[in-house]
């Protein structure tokens, strides 16, 4: 049953072939990004000359430094608020048994299947009216709203299975519900907080449609929005464009390679519920 047979060997060879095929676009991306302007060879041709200039050009002309700071700021604040707001409301939903609690949960779950496109235009008008378009609080508010349904789903499923003994002990010892939550319950949420952070951070960092609407043309453009403008400007200068793309995805890739197991578990475990 556990021997390495010729059949396993065939599967392994096929899988490695598929893996190489999967990597071709990424290898091409990296290879092109380092090519000097005089180097007209193709994406899978590794003859020189190579240069680092494309990265400098992309960084300076693309104003990617500012965009990276914007993205980091928007992502981290949005994710922090999602963790705080999401865990609090889920604690309430999971511990109260009244009918409204189930109703509220159902409404949050409905948010999972309501496409953002439906609320897009009316919300945009409202945000124009309250002057939040093109501002940091505006985009963060939209990110938090969009991320809440899945966040509440993850926290509530986890909290429902969490033993109540610890928080009860804390309350019998005289802790109020707020203290019991901050000192006892929240620390127990650590594994699911990890999942919530990873999934929301990747989704928000990579999102394009919403920041394109709310931030295009302002000084707050996130990396994907900046790239979109940048590509329009450099339509056929692929080495510079690709250098810009690499700068964009590098932070996410670094996080992924350090936390592979948790990231993959987050993506697969998040939907098991």
């Amino acid at each position: 049953m556990h021997r390495y047979t010729w059949r396993t060997g065939t599967v392994e060879v096929l899988l490695i072939g598929a893996a190489l095929l999967t990597l071709v676009p990424i290898v091409g991306l990296v290879n092109v990004a380092f090519k000097a302007p005089s180097n007209l060879s193709t994406a899978l041709d590794f003859a020189g000359p190579y240069t680092l200039d494309n990265f400098a050009t992309a960084w300076v002309d693309g104003m990617l430094g500012a965009a990276l700071i914007n993205s980091a700021l928007i992502t981290s604040i949005s994710v922090a608020l999602l963790v705080v707001f999401g865990s609090m409301v889920s604690y309430l939903i999971s511990r109260r048994t009244a009918g409204w609690s189930k109703g509220a949960y159902t409404l949050f779950l409905a948010g999972l299947v309501i496409p953002g496109q439906l609320s897009l235009l009316p919300l945009y008008q409202t945000m124009v009216d309250v002057r939040l378009v093109g501002t940091l609080p505006g985009i963060i508010l939209v990110n938090v709203g969009a991320g809440l349904p899945f966040t509440v789903f993850l926290f509530t499923t986890f909290l429902r299975d969490l033993p109540r003994d610890y928080e009860e002990a804390a309350m019998i010892d005289g802790a109020g519900p707020v203290r019991a939550f901050t000192t006892v319950v929240f620390p127990l949420l650590r594994p699911i907080v990890g999942t919530v952070v990873i999934l929301n951070a990747i989704a928000i960092w990579n999102s394009f449609f919403v920041p394109l609407l709310y931030l295009a043309g302002t000084g707050l453009e996130t990396v994907p929005v900046r790239l979109y403008g940048f590509v329009g400007q450099y339509t056929s200068n692929w080495p510079v464009i690709f250098a810009g793309l690499i700068i964009t995805i590098l932070p996410v890739l670094v996080v992924f390679f350090f936390l592979q197991r948790s990231v993959m578990q987050g993506f697969s475990g998040g939907v098991k519920g």
Binding site: R96, F108, V113, Q117, L121, L123, F208, Q260
Partner: protein
Amino acid sequence: MTRPRRRRPLQQRVPLWFGIPAAAVFVFIIIVPSVQGIALSFTDWNGITDDFGFVGFENFIRIFRDPRAIAALQNTLVLALTVTVVQNLIGLLLALGVNGRVRSRHILRVVFFTPVVLTPLVAGYIWGYLLSPRGTVNQALEAIGLGFLKQTWLGDPRFALACVCVAIIWQFAGYSMVIYLAGLQAIPVEINEAAVLDGAGPVRRLISVTLPLINGAIVINLLLTLIGSLGQFDQVMAMTGGGPGNATQTISTSIFRIGFASGDYPYGIALAVVMTIFVAGAAAIQYRLTSRKVDF
């Protein structure tokens, strides 16, 4: 000693204000504008003034008389169904492969999953380059003597939508894979061993044992892929911008074009309502399917 006074069960004392921040944001960002969206799709609102009239189903009738909107609906359905079927087949095969005894399974999982974390816009640009007239795909075809198959892939209405599908599947097959893998790893080893003892071959075991036991993963994967690809925007914008002509225009890119570029708000919102109906339909089918759970 006095007896402690009777109180409500301890957990029932979680204060209501714990729910206020999340509820406020959720109502403001999702619920109110979604309801407004449905209501406004029956009006002639111009997006600025408050005086607008009720026009019944006129916006929806316009959709079905507008060749561009019909093209967008068709493209979205074709793209969503193609991506859902192909991505899930590939994801399932990859999961079965890396769940086995192959030695490189851990590194293979990482490789197959890597595209998932990339920015979809970036994935779109990479494929836009690979599929450009002098791009890698055409050069590879030439190199292996199949130069006559060279195409202007993204400039040709016959191939453009399929090319967008390829880019999406390349990026997200690894996502389907990890969900199938989680399902496969939850199957107790004894069940497969019992099937082997009963003389079932690999194909028979896959159909009669494995697939029924990962029913949950299959349904969730199909739903996630379907909902995700019905809203497809990023890769299309990066690869074709909706062209050539309207060959890769999707509902999302049309909403963007109509709603923001031409300011025809109610019409854009009516398209979003149609999309919501598609998504709700997919979710309803999923709900029906999950109620037939397989247990062991």
